[in-house]
Symmetry: D3
């Protein structure tokens, strides 16, 4: 049995629940999914500020997962917050959902478009696309201007707005795949799949399958270079416990 923890970096438990359900729906029989939220940080992530402040909670969850025997982690926010640091902390694989969705999207067609929540997050998506090597494969980033928390138990109008945004992305960019730019959209992916005229890639499920793949191939994060465990040191203030955590990471 492989234990995979799916970390929802915001503190909205309802979203954590539905992300977990979606992850379990695609996980292999030999994978045990645990969906968790951090004990600290923002209730939703809609700015660089929110994202940066979600990271301590994500790292605490990764450290907790490590000491609890988790084999791998998914970071289930489309900004992939804390991914590099999480790879330093964890021994097993860590995959972000933006990363995962973009990787798989390039395997089903020539180009993908991202449909994200607020337009102010589009820059982060482009940054990630460039960082991962997909600046050419990413044909467009489109905001549907739906706040993240509206995706929890979404109204029919929210679903309509999102569907329309996906269709417009396909029409404008002639993309082969639409990547859903928020973990909160994951539960809507199956419904969207048949109605937007392109493949629909949801990063939560994509990341679960990539973590499973890495585990099956024993491809844990390389620890001989940049992702070696962080050197232990003193941490001050409300974050002081992170110093100990860093120190004890193998």
């Amino acid at each position: 049995m492989k234990r995979v923890r799916v970390i929802n970096p915001n503190t909205s438990l309802a979203m954590t629940e539905s992300i977990g359900r979606r992850a379990r729906a695609v996980a292999a029989p030999s994978t045990e999914i645990t969906a968790v939220s951090p004990a600290m940080g923002p209730e939703s992530i809609e700015s660089h500020y929110d994202e940066a402040l979600a990271v301590p909670g994500v790292l605490a969850e990764v450290a907790a997962g490590e000491s609890g025997g988790a084999h791998g982690h998914v970071i289930a926010c489309f900004g992939d917050p804390g991914l590099d640091a999480a790879r330093e902390v964890a021994v097993g694989p860590v995959v972000g959902i933006a990363e995962a969705a973009m990787h798989l999207a390039t395997l089903v067609g020539r180009g993908f478009s991202v449909v994200t929540t607020l337009s102010r997050t589009a820059g982060r998506t482009w940054d990630l696309a460039r960082r991962y090597g997909f600046e050419r494969a990413c044909l467009g980033v489109h905001a549907c201007e739906i706040p993240v928390l509206d995706l929890d138990d979404p109204s029919p109008e929210t679903v309509r707005t999102l569907t329309e945004a996906c269709r417009e992305a396909v029409a404008r960019d002639r993309c082969d795949a639409v990547v859903l730019g928020c973990a909160g959209m994951a539960p809507l992916a199956p419904g969207l799949a048949g109605s937007v005229g392109a493949r629909v890639v949801d990063g939560v499920t994509a990341a679960v399958k990539l973590v499973e793949s890495l585990l099956a191939l024993d491809l844990r994060t390389a620890k001989g270079g940049e992702y070696a465990a962080p050197p232990p040191k003193r941490y001050a203030g409300p974050l002081s416990s992170f110093g100990r955590r860093g120190a004890t990471t193998p």
Copy 2:
């Protein structure tokens, strides 16, 4: 049960066998692997010429797989020969081993190096790295100058030479992962994993897991654009049967 065909684009049956064994070793219980070779083409692929001429055989195998009910295909030669065309022919996912190895290699570290067979094939590897978006993640391409067929039932010296080439790649490029640049190297991956100072990524197993992932997520190749089934037409000469195949692809 998902039926995945692993196509060895050269006609060396011994290599097909060992590639198949390696694929089966990592496949999920619910995946049935069939390893096949084309009925036409070169016994090994060591030039643009060989690679181009391996493609008709690959496409024939993809078409045969499609009509035989295969759910997905792996193209098991590091040049990913015929990948675009195979995606047009197949309804299910098709993944090349160079593509697969490079994708997964970027998830275990910051950069990877490729160890390939003959130096004359390095240019093709760079072309693929650029095509897939990994020109920055790919830190180097190193030839060990071992002919492809020497990898079948390799001598201890061949193994030593390959191991040394991997170590040198790690030392020179400070890479986090070594990507094995030939399907024939796949059976040697487990032995190399502990002895080169970096993760070792073998494209055959990587591609099997990616095809399984795409199948689990129902992410078949998008058919609304460039990868639509090729328009049927007349084909002349020894390739005339390919016209009919094109025509009947759904």
Copy 3:
């Protein structure tokens, strides 16, 4: 006298004829043009599948040209099918028409647009533009949705549609040159030149002049690296004769 073979990679003899006429119209008095089609392969090239399957025929023609004393070759399909492999096989220069048109187009202005046949081929054009270094010089790729074979003895409406597509490309991209994205458009280039508001570059004539230039400067393909003759080996099935060809290439 320099013998230059212009290979039409599809098997439509009428198109081969008109391509040959166009080539002869610009060739130097000291150049003898022979236009040929392969004995195998598709009647037109409108997909990755067609293009890949046109390559064996192209390579057979290059090998025949070599043994028949040809000094240089043009590959007259806008996907430049088999170009790398043809450079391995031939001793003299080999130039593709996409490559040739793009090179010359950058000498007459700051940017060019490509007008191609079917939209499904646009991706291949972008791949080539990137491969050759012209991703910035290429301002757009526009499909006129005319099937390749309709360009043979084209109707007035076909000519009108193509002219209109060129004009739209100029208006949208403010390009200095329109590159015709199909060898079958070559005979229409003179008529288009005066009516689209930009220079019109036809790859067939461009490639003839580039092959002549390389011959005049004795710049044959370098044979010390990636384009060395392919190593001889056994080939199976209907392609078995290609093994012998590979073996005897100097």
Copy 4:
């Protein structure tokens, strides 16, 4: 009088002091420099983990600066931690020292090299160089393997090691400028300037002058798009005060 806060993102007060002295040495008479450290976070930043966990403290200092009437901020750690988020929080300009050093380095020559502390931080430097547009101007990133805290009151041997690393960077890369890759190196910049054979750019002083320049030109951060104040929301746990801060940012 313009009030500029220089935030040392780690909690080492001695380093904060010396960074402040260096900043004051180059500030205009009309600039008042205040050097501060966060109340929470790591004592030095030597990993992605440290850097991510330094960000909450940086953002708290920026918010404190804003409410205290600061006109601009410098983030004085070479990873530019929290820069995007700080720009959302602050009304006045915020400049990171990596950013500042790279910008000015391109004005004194054709290429620069970065000399950083530990080799594990080189990847972050390359990420920033690419993000800011300087992937071509940056000719190399070289680690001197000096831990950050050894730069406080450095021994003669530490100075020698750093000097030697700078000289080697110049010799290997033929760079016109050496960028010092750690705020802790700033006090050593004047001593290095005459002895490494290239201009020496220290990000702390570079950032002070850039913030002054932006203030003189009234070029505050644009607030109409991605850097608008973050939407207010609930924050949980030890970071709960950040929710209020976000809410009250104008």
Copy 5:
């Protein structure tokens, strides 16, 4: 006192005056600004031809500045004419206004657009954006089709046209900053700042602050490589005096 010469590369003295006024308005109290025009060359720069022929006059002014004790130079035409050569001639820093504006524009937001005079100069702007590393940060180049000399003592309609062009750039590109693409627009910058919906960056004032910054940090042009003083040699004809100048540059 630091003496900074602002060179208007065209020979329109009224424009030189107003550029000088604008420079003085932002210069530090310790900076003495002298605005000069060359004795030779075009009255305005609106083509590659004009720009190339403005360079000798610019270089003569730089040499005159050097022998007259100037500490730094600004080249106040948006094509940054002669910048590399001026850096060879001068000992102190030389900054072009396109360069300066683009650098500072990236510090106030994620992307900028350039509003230039005639559309035929847009290509030069893109060339510079690429050369300086800002091809991604530059979101668009828009011509307002106002001839350069109309910007001297501009009519209300000219101001309206320019304002409208800025607003359209903001609307189309969603840029955070508008960079004014002509030195002649500098005096209009303060008026535009409040009315276009984005920060307005004028290269003249930006360059003055960057030269001051470089001077304060003693970051003169590196002279150990490409920007070493040009080797002395004979010059023929009306430009013969430039040979002597080259020879005497330290």
Copy 6:
């Protein structure tokens, strides 16, 4: 008969003679080559300063050629000085020798290296490689540190030094072609061709063939955009005649 003027941008008549001889050696029988030097400017071009100051003379020669009925121009200095401006002035094609050599070098192999004179000119070569799209194809730029005028009637030692530099470039870069980075090296190209282990591309002959090719295809510079004739205007001082020239260019 097509009249092609080859402009040597420096004033060394002996070099102009030998460049002319080399051009004539490869020109078609129907091409009349005239080699000219400007009446003003530097005797050799070895810095940005020299290059910028060679441009007025080049443009005067292009204008003289235009009014004298020349059909096309070659700019025979490896920095391609004044190329954009010359394209505005001339109606017929203008090709620079760096541009020409790089274009043809990409047709004979996968990568080329440039062997230039002084190391201080390497940056300009990289700028041009990037401008023309060949930053990937260009594998290295190597200086042989031979002053330009030593290439006129070169000593055996100069030839040996150059030969050795070419061989080292081939060994280090594994390039398929060596591009000679100075017009003064053109007469040595035939001797080098057989002795450096790669194809040797000399820009003078390459440019002659490209101009002939453009003329044969009636591909004159596009005049509808950036390369339209420069708008006429007043020019001051020793360059005043250039205003009239600009004005009368059709």
